[in-house]
Symmetry: C2
Subunit: 132 residues, 2 copies
């Protein structure tokens, strides 16, 4: 395509850097606004959203899979949410190793309150992508 002679396509590196910059910008903005206005972080919000999308409850395992987090990070995330009263942790009936995470009313309200903020920040910060 272009006539650069790096060892690999420069567009790949460009894309990578754009990914890094974009992620930092968008995530940083979302994190900041959510934290400032609703006292939750990006991952907390994402977890709540997954719970709302499901039947307000799901296995911790599903949450771990749905989020870009390690198992330990997900575990602590749920613990934080529980500490804030946004979810409850109960032993799973079918598999007592498992934890059933359930959205509380406070959790639902917090999510609903935070959603417009998150959507607004996304709309404001994700646009510049088109000019890539």
């Amino acid at each position: 395509m272009s006539d650069i002679d790096t060892d690999t396509e420069p567009s790949l590196v460009d894309e990578w850097r754009r990914l890094l910059a974009r992620h930092a910008a968008v995530t940083g903005a979302v994190e900041h606004e959510l934290q400032q206005r609703h006292g939750i972080g990006v991952n907390e919000f994402e977890a709540l959203e997954r719970l709302v999308e499901g039947a307000d409850g799901c296995r911790a395992l599903e949450l771990t899979d749905a989020l870009p987090l390690s198992q330990s990070a997900a575990s602590r995330l749920v613990a934080r949410l529980e500490r804030q009263g946004l979810v409850t942790r109960t032993v799973c009936v079918n598999d007592r190793r498992g934890v059933f995470v359930c959205l509380t009313e406070a959790g639902r309200e917090r999510y609903l309150a935070a959603r417009p903020t998150q959507r607004a920040v996304l709309a404001a910060t994700m646009r510049p992508e088109s000019s890539g």
Copy 2:
């Protein structure tokens, strides 16, 4: 375009989730491989790359601007690189508040050794984007 009636375009949220997932996947892979095979992390590599692209040296300030990191994180990053002997920190001549970061020979070699690894991981993990 599609006829979903969420409070915002669902494509925006989809794009956001793809950004999160993609960043986690690619960055995680690059981080792991670079750490495993060359003893440096993603940010360390990016910093070295900026130094190589420049004249093997630049103000710490420029590095901070070039990387998706806070000022304090960039400062510590340079400190780590120095501890590993990959860069040197000298007081800037023109502005003695500033720090001039200079790539060492070891730093250049480490970068050159790590670059193929990074490029390979990028090539392997960034492709799935096209199917967005």
